[in-house]
């Protein structure tokens, strides 16, 4: 029974057809390819599949980047991409296909770097569609112009880069890791689907904090090492999605450097 449930959960894509407006008729599977951290900077790479159930080809993918974009790559390969770092005054990592990604096709790695720590952020993705005619419209109140992020794109949560918290102490970062672990185990994310594993992961973080507060840094690091080994085995088993694996692994590695 357990195996059957697991198969079903894996069949559910990470994004669904959430809207029926033009631009929203896409169904994506967004996977984290990697998250790396160095000094005060974090880099995130995504690989996106436009599932064959999509009506529209994928055109754009934006990720909120609250601390700004330090570097962003325009992938090379079969498709030509353009990248950008803001939208309507908001910092974002933006990738725009100059051709479109048909249903069933996969992007190359989309990579960006920001100063900050890996965190849970918002993404937007849009399909390509035929623009409507607007010539016969009276000029609207410009404040009421439709926002394409809400009206013509789907949205959800993914892993990105948040600004460093004001408190960068090991104690604060361990508390943050605990919170992230709980978020990824709970709805609506459910990036970890094994509740027993969730309990073990939280226990490891609590143990690390207990050792740290007692001055036993080596033991605290050992607890985090165990935490990462659980993540890896869960990822291999399919109960830990790539988003949670890379989010939690990278944040625990930052703690290794801080402690």
């Amino acid at each position: 029974m357990r195996h059957i449930l697991l198969s079903l959960s894996l069949a559910i894509p990470s994004a669904t057809l959430v809207g029926q407006n033009p631009g929203q008729k896409i169904n994506l599977d967004i996977q984290l390819a990697s998250v790396n951290t160095a000094a005060d900077t974090s880099g995130v790479s995504y690989v996106i599949t436009n599932l064959s159930s999509s009506v529209e080809p994928m055109w754009r993918y934006f990720v909120d980047a609250p601390s700004g974009v330090l570097r962003i790559a325009s992938p090379s390969g079969t498709f030509k991409w353009r990248s950008d770092t803001s939208f309507r005054g908001q910092s974002m990592a933006r990738w725009i296909l100059t051709a479109y990604l048909a249903g069933g096709s996969v992007t190359p790695e989309l990579h960006f770097e920001s100063v900050g720590v890996p965190g849970i952020v918002i993404y937007w993705a849009g399909g390509h569609f035929q623009l409507p005619s607007r010539e016969d419209e009276l000029e609207p109140d410009t404040a009421a112009l439709p926002d394409p992020l809400g009206a013509a794109m789907i949205t959800g949560k993914t892993v990105g880069v948040e600004a460093w918290p004001a408190d960068r102490s090991a104690q604060a970062l361990l508390a943050r890791l605990r919170s992230l672990t709980l978020q990824t185990c709970a709805t609506p994310l459910l990036w970890i689907t094994d509740s027993t594993l969730c309990t073990q992961l939280v226990s490891d973080v609590d143990q690390a904090e207990s050792y740290r507060s007692g001055g036993q840094i080596a033991s605290a690091k050992s607890s985090l090492e165990h935490y990462r080994s659980l993540l890896l085995s869960g990822n291999t088993a399919g109960t830990v999605k790539s988003s949670s694996y890379w989010l939690l692994k990278s944040n625990s590695e930052i703690l290794d450097r801080v402690m």
């Binding site: 950008d84 309507r88 005054g89 100059t98 051709a99 390509h128 623009l131 409507p132 607007r134 419209e137």
Partner: protein, 173 residues
């Protein structure tokens, strides 16, 4: 219109501006008294002209409307930014057709033979300095998508008028 001021000889009237912009003279007459005149300027205030720039072209000026690229400062700034980004991305110029007239108001675009005549067949928009048409002739899909995405980045909307006799994107912001 006629009205009775009563014994004070004073009353208030409301002037509703017509669609076309420009100077309007309101005349008040009273039997046995001197005629009174009030000059009213009907306009959208503070529209500015799209400056000449080597990174974009303008078109659409006609003898009766030689100045057809007026818009709000915010709109003009976005048009220039779009043209600059396009220039640096593709090394090509965008060509901007009608924005608004110097004072805003109704824009009777379809003048002359085959058209409806003066002030009769306007763009419905292009009155408040928030619309500009950008020509799409000669632009490939990648360039059209760039205009679309970049204009939305600036907070605007894009309408597709490529299936008309004057193929263009209709930019609003």
């Amino acid at each position: 219109m006629q009205f009775n001021t009563g014994p004070t000889g004073v009353d208030t009237v409301t002037f509703v501006a017509p669609d076309p912009a420009g100077p309007v003279t309101v005349t008040g007459t009273l039997s046995g008294a001197r005629k009174g005149l009030a000059k009213v300027q009907v306009e959208v205030k503070d529209l500015m002209k799209l400056p000449i720039d080597p990174k974009y072209d303008t078109t659409g000026a006609k003898p009766v409307h030689p100045d057809n690229h007026y818009a709000t400062q915010s709109h003009i700034g976005a048009v220039i930014a779009l043209a600059n980004e396009f220039w640096y991305q593709f090394g090509k110029k965008l060509t901007f057709n009608d924005s608004s007239l110097e004072l805003g108001g109704l824009y009777d675009v379809d003048l002359g033979a085959g058209g409806g005549g003066y002030w009769t067949y306007p763009h419905r928009g292009h009155r408040l300095g928030q619309n500009t048409d950008v020509r799409t002739n000669g632009l490939v899909q990648e360039e059209l998508d760039f205009v679309w995405d970049t204009w939305e980045k600036y907070g605007g909307t894009v309408g597709d008028e490529t299936n008309t006799s004057q193929p263009h994107y209709h930019l609003t912001r």
